[in-house]
């Protein structure tokens, strides 16, 4: 048996033990002190979304374009029996809207039936709440970003879906506010 085979066998055993241990251990009590985040890529920039602001994550969903004057509106898509608009998250973050390639990933906002499309999904991340710090910079591209956290070697901003939805709502229906779910 070669070294690679030994390594694969050890890894398989480790995975099995970790899987079994997760069901053997008692549920953690400090779950509330943790924050679930979806690390995504908007354009080429890494961002994160709070799971609590997202109703669902999908990939390669069919988006039907609509004739519109709103450049960020990519079209509409079906979700659990209802039709909802899909906005380009990069456009909402004031990045130039890419016309050649369409974003693959789609996150459904929890507060409103609105889809937010983006280019990449990196991973699901669970971090302590105290690891999240407020965003210091305030400019146009980070106007929907209030917090950041350290992911690996760099800081990753957390997009405020509520702020995005508010911007969409204010653009569609001036004066309306985002309904909290």
């Amino acid at each position: 048996m070669s070294g690679a085979d030994m390594l694969a066998t050890d890894r398989g055993a480790e995975l099995r033990r970790a899987f079994d241990r997760s069901f053997a251990e008692a549920p953690r009590s400090d779950v509330t002190s943790l924050e679930d985040l979806l690390e995504i890529t908007v354009g080429v920039t890494p961002y994160a979304l709070r799971i609590t602001e997202v109703a669902g994550l999908f990939v390669d969903r069919k988006i039907t374009p609509l004739p519109t004057t709103v450049p960020e509106l990519l079209g509409i898509t079906g979700f659990r029996g209802s039709i909802l608009p899909v906005y380009d998250l990069a456009g909402m973050l004031a990045y130039p809207v890419a016309t050649a390639t369409k974003p693959r990933w789609l996150a459904i906002a929890a507060a409103l039936p609105v889809g937010l499309a983006f280019e990449g999904f990196d991973r699901h991340q669970r971090i302590p709440r105290d690891a999240i710090v407020p965003q210091v910079r305030r400019d146009s591209q980070v106007r929907h970003v209030c917090e950041v956290f350290r992911s690996g070697e760099r800081m990753r901003p957390i997009i405020s879906v509520a702020s995005i939805l508010e911007a969409i709502t204010s653009r569609v229906r001036p004066g309306a506010s985002v309904r909290k779910r």
Partner: protein, 490 residues
Amino acid sequence: MARHWTFGQKVGASFALLVALAIVMGLVAFLALRTVVSSKDRVIDIDAQLLIGAQHLHALRESKGSSAREFLLTRDEQALGTMQQARADVVMVLAQLKRNVSDEDGQRLVEAIIEAETANQRAIDDVVALRRTNVSLDEVVRAFENRIDPTRDRLDAAIRTFVSREEQRLQGAKQASTETASLATMVVAVLVAIVLLCAIATGVVLTKTLGRQIGTAVGQVQSSSAELQAAATQQATGAKEQATAMSEIATTISELLATSRQITESARRVAQIAEETAAAARSGDDTVDHAHESIAAIRRQVDLVVSHMLELGKKSQQIGTVLEIVSELAEQTNILAINATIEAAGAGETGKRFGVVADEIRKLADRVAGSTKEIRGLIEDIRSAVNTTVMATETGSKAVDTGSKQFAYVTASFKRIVGLVTTTTEAAREIELSIKQQMSAIEQVNVAIANIAQASKETEASTGQTQQTASQLAFLSKDLLRVIRPEAAA
């Protein structure tokens, strides 16, 4: 051109000239002598005969007169007969004179004599007739004196006239003959003088010309003998140098002979080595054939490896396809787990347990995705390795092809080498044979060189003799020149 005449031609021409002059002189002398003889003959035969005839005629007249006088005195008939006989002789002499006299004056004188004699004879006949008669003697004497004497005087006068003329003519002819003889003598003398002068001139010219020519020739002989002497000296020196050179050549040829023997030995060894090389080349040829077969087998194995590698690549691609499905499934599972987590988070407290399961599913999906990514990397490595291996194998296949072709070239080269080595062996043998023949030739040349050296020595000796002969020739030519031109020799 007289200048180009030879010695013999000049001498011959001189003798021919002298002989021609002698012939001319002889002819002239002959003609002169003949003229003189003819003149004398004419004097003797004609003039002298005429004079003698005239004298005889006078004597016959005397005889006839005496006989007539005797008859008249004695009346002797015998005397009359004598007289008649004398008369017949007179007539005959007169006829002869008349025949011999050629000129008119002479004929006239002869006619006068005949006429006087006829008158005299008539007078005599008359007196004789008178005497036969009986007349007295005195009368007869008177008749004789009156008739015969005058006729006799006339006859004598005519005869004397004729004699005188003939004497004058004889004298004249004699004088003319003497003058002719003198002229002939003078002509002959002149010719003799001319011949002598020509002979002297020819002798002088011949002497001078031949002397000059012989002197020149002798001078040339002298010069040539000097040159011959110098040439003989040079030849002697050359012969000596040639003998020395021949000796050196003989030494060199001996060394060449030794070298040729060494070359023969080397050629023999070359032939031996070439034979061994040919055997090795044939063995190498077999080895190359075996190697060619091995390369063909390697090529087949390489083709098999390429085929297997391509199959492995296809399988890897299929694994990649399956892995894509697995990856997609993992991603879907992950999304599903995330959505479950979202739903669990939305469910509040009741969804926590479900959230744990969803989280584990997500972790599992993450690990599957990580493993899938890792497998994808490994598959990519495998595909890359397969591609590299296929490329390397194809390169190896091409190299094997190239090697196979090269081996074909090598095989051909080995065959050529075998052929060339065989040719080399034959050439080495031929060289060995040629060197042996060359050695034989060199030995013959050595013998010939020895002979030439001996001949050079003999040439040297004979050159000494030539030198001596040239010296003698030089002395001889000097003596000859001294004999011919003393002033030049001095």
